[in-house]
Structures are given as C-alpha cells and as structure tokens.
C-alpha cells in the first residue's frame, strides 16, 4: 500500500494505539502491524486501468481536464443565496411574522393538518421549548409563505419544519456564514450575509454599517427543512401518516426528493 493505510477503516485498537500508546513498545507495534495487515490493498491503479479501457484513452493524464469549461461555483452559489433571500424577504407574510414573534426564536412543524409552533429558549441549563403564544396569529401567514414557496419550486413539495429568528448576534451571523460551502473566505461570506441582515447596530459595531443599510429583511431566515420534523421537540406527539400523504397530494414532491423514510410513509397502506 505504499506506506499508506485507510485510517478510518482501522479497527478501534489502532486508533488507541495511534493516539495513546508508546509506539516504541515492540509488543504494541507488532499488534499494530497485524491490524494494518487486515486492511484492503490500495487498488487505485486498477481503477486507472479500468478507466483507460472504458474511455479508450492511452494515458490517464489525457483525461484530467476532459469536459467543457464551467462557470465559477462560488459566484453561482452566492448569487443563488442572495436571490433566495431577496425572494424570502419580499414575501408579504414575512413582515407580519416578524412583527408577531418579536425577539423569539420560533420553530414551526407543519405536516398536513399537524401544525405546531414553539419558541426556543437557550438557558444556563440547556435548551427548552414551549408553545408559542402567537401560534394561531402567525398561522395564516406561515401557511401563505409555505405554500407559495412550494409553488415557486415545483417538485420540492411543502416543507415540514422551519425556524424563524428575528434577533441576531454576531455569533449567529458567523455560524450561518460558515455553513455555506464554497471557497469564499469567512469574511466574504459575512459580507454577503450582512447584505441581508436588519441589525445595523450590530453591524455598525463590526464596521459594516454601510452594507447593512442596503438590507431589507426583517428576519434572518433559517433554512426550511424537508427531511425532518424536529423529533426532539415533539417527543411522542408526531404527525400521522395521513398528514404526510395530504401534503404530497397537494404539492407533490418529485421522486428524487423523497427520502427512504418518507417513501415508507407515503406509500404505506395505513
């Protein structure tokens, strides 16, 4: 294996040996070598031979840049992000939701007829959830936002949970910025994200007030979730299979978007 091994495939004892044991101990080293010998051989050269045969190429080096030129992924994902947030922030329901929830962190779970709105509280002894007092007040606005989103993105279906958070801190901004996978530096990500925040005071402290003034959003949007319904919050109180089926009937989710667990629910006879 040319001196390399698949570290993550190594048995647990190898991890222990690597991390904590004396490597000069001959007995330990012998055990270590035995474990490494069990690992599979490096057959990437076999992959190369197979690829040459498949493509009829003479050398792998000829294939390294095969394909048409493509645009910058960073630019594409940044433009997409800014466009999505602009779309969200200009939706007529967003300001109404923001007005109603105040500074609360809100989690919505909505599947079919099952609707719950919780507020999240982070305390010294952990995170707790309680029913949001304004749950009924925001329901029609959340419904409009949820259904309009499904109309705008055919095949995506209705989201099953979402979170809204109006108050933001520098730590929140950094966490959100850091969650985007592209090659922008964290500073560039922050700058792009700040274009859509509504807390000039925080941003001015960071020396980016001018950018903040261009922002129009009353809410820092957290992602909509299509694959889980926050079971930690709901406990035993979960939507019924009929609720998932009802959502699917109204705004069908494309087959490629249906995860195995949801497929089990949607196509069950119960």
């Amino acid at each position: 294996m040319n001196g390399t091994f698949f570290y993550s495939l190594a048995p647990e004892c190898v991890y222990v040996e690597q991390d904590f044991e004396d490597h000069d101990d001959p007995r330990r080293f012998k055990t270590h070598k035995k474990e490494l010998a069990k690992l599979p051989p490096d057959l990437r050269s076999e992959l190369g031979l197979w690829l040459l045969d498949y493509t009829n190429a003479d050398r792998l080096e000829e294939l390294l840049d095969v394909g048409p030129p493509h645009p910058s992924f960073d630019t594409w994902v940044t433009d997409l992000e800014i466009g999505l947030n602009k779309q969200f922030n200009t939706h007529p329901s967003v300001k109404a939701i923001a007005r109603a929830i105040g500074e609360c962190n809100v989690i919505i779970i909505w599947v079919g007829e099952f609707y719950r709105a919780y507020t999240r509280e982070d305390g010294r002894h952990g995170t707790s959830y309680r029913i949001l007092e304004e749950a009924d007040e925001i329901k029609p606005h959340v419904q409009a936002l949820r259904e309009d989103w499904a109309k705008d993105y055919p095949g995506l279906g209705l989201w099953h949970s979402a979170s809204f958070k109006k108050s933001i801190s520098v730590f929140d901004i950094i966490a959100v910025a850091d969650s985007y996978y592209d090659n922008r530096s964290i500073f560039e990500k922050l700058k792009d994200l700040i274009k859509r925040t509504d807390k000039p005071s925080i941003l001015e402290k960071a020396g980016v007030g001018e950018i903040a003034k261009r922002y129009v959003s009353p809410i820092l949007r957290n992602d909509f979730h299509y694959d889980y319904i926050v079971p930690k919050v709901l406990g035993e109180n979960l939507p019924e299979t009929a609720d998932f089926k009802a959502d699917q009937a109204r705004y069908p989710r494309a087959p490629h978007r249906i995860s195995p667990w949801l497929r089990g629910r949607l196509f069950s006879k119960v």
Binding site: L43, E46, L47, D65, F73, D74, N183, Y226, R257
Partner: protein, 131 residues
C-alpha cells in the same frame, strides 16, 4: 459504512441511483459503469468512499434540488454533479473535503482520472484531499 470483514465489496444499487436522480437528467453511463465496477472491488481498496444520494441541502439550499445532485460520500470526500445550466450534457463535478474546501472538475471522467492518479489521498489521516 461499517466493514465487517476483508471480503466486503463496495455496495452499489443502480435502481436507487436512478430513483434519486431528477427525472430530466440522464444518469451518465460512466457513473453506472463505475458503480458496477466498484461493486466488484474490496471495500476501501480505492478509498473510503461510497455511493450516496442523500439531499445535500446545506450546499445551496433545498431550492436548488434539481441542480445539485449528490452521488458520492466518504470519509474525506463528498462529490456532486452541478447543473449550472440546462444546455450542457456533461455536468461538472464539485468536490468538498472534510474542511469545506471546494474544487470544481469539468467532468466525471476527469474526476475518476484524478482519483486513480492519487490526487486525493486514500489516507484520511493525512487529510491531504487537495494536493
């Protein structure tokens, strides 16, 4: 992906791959052939990677569900097709490593050639995905 013994081979489910591709995108023949080939190889022998089509919503948001098509995951590699337009038939590949660094490669052919040539270390301890 837990390996139980040395004789395990890479799993590959062509039907599931078909199901998890958007209907308006044809699965590249090379991807299917590669999957069938991998299925004959000892697990781990070309790296700690496996076919995976879970929704990569954290990349560009779920709204991009017809443009970001994940097909591979692994200990230190994560690869998806990126449909940036509706014209091209050859989709570029975007790779993300464990530290979030990104590389865009013009085609699946180029990606596999790079993989075979050792551009991406199979030794995750070294963490040198991008050399």
């Amino acid at each position: 992906m837990k390996i139980t013994n040395k004789t395990d081979t890479y799993p590959f489910d062509a039907a599931e791959l078909h199901r998890r591709f958007p209907a308006d995108i044809q699965i590249p023949d090379l991807l299917l052939a590669f999957g069938q080939w991998m299925k004959t190889m000892p697990y781990g022998s070309i790296g700690d990677i496996y076919f995976d089509t879970e929704h990569p919503d954290h990349i560009a948001g779920p709204e991009a569900h017809r443009q970001i098509i994940k097909f591979m995951d692994g200990d230190d590699i994560y690869a998806f097709f990126w449909r940036h337009d509706t014209v091209g038939e050859t989709l570029p590949i975007v790779l993300i490593d464990g530290d979030g660094a990104i590389e865009t490669i013009p085609s699946l052919t180029a990606f596999l050639a790079r993989f075979a040539l050792g551009y991406y270390s199979a030794d995750s301890d070294e963490r040198n995905f991008f050399l």
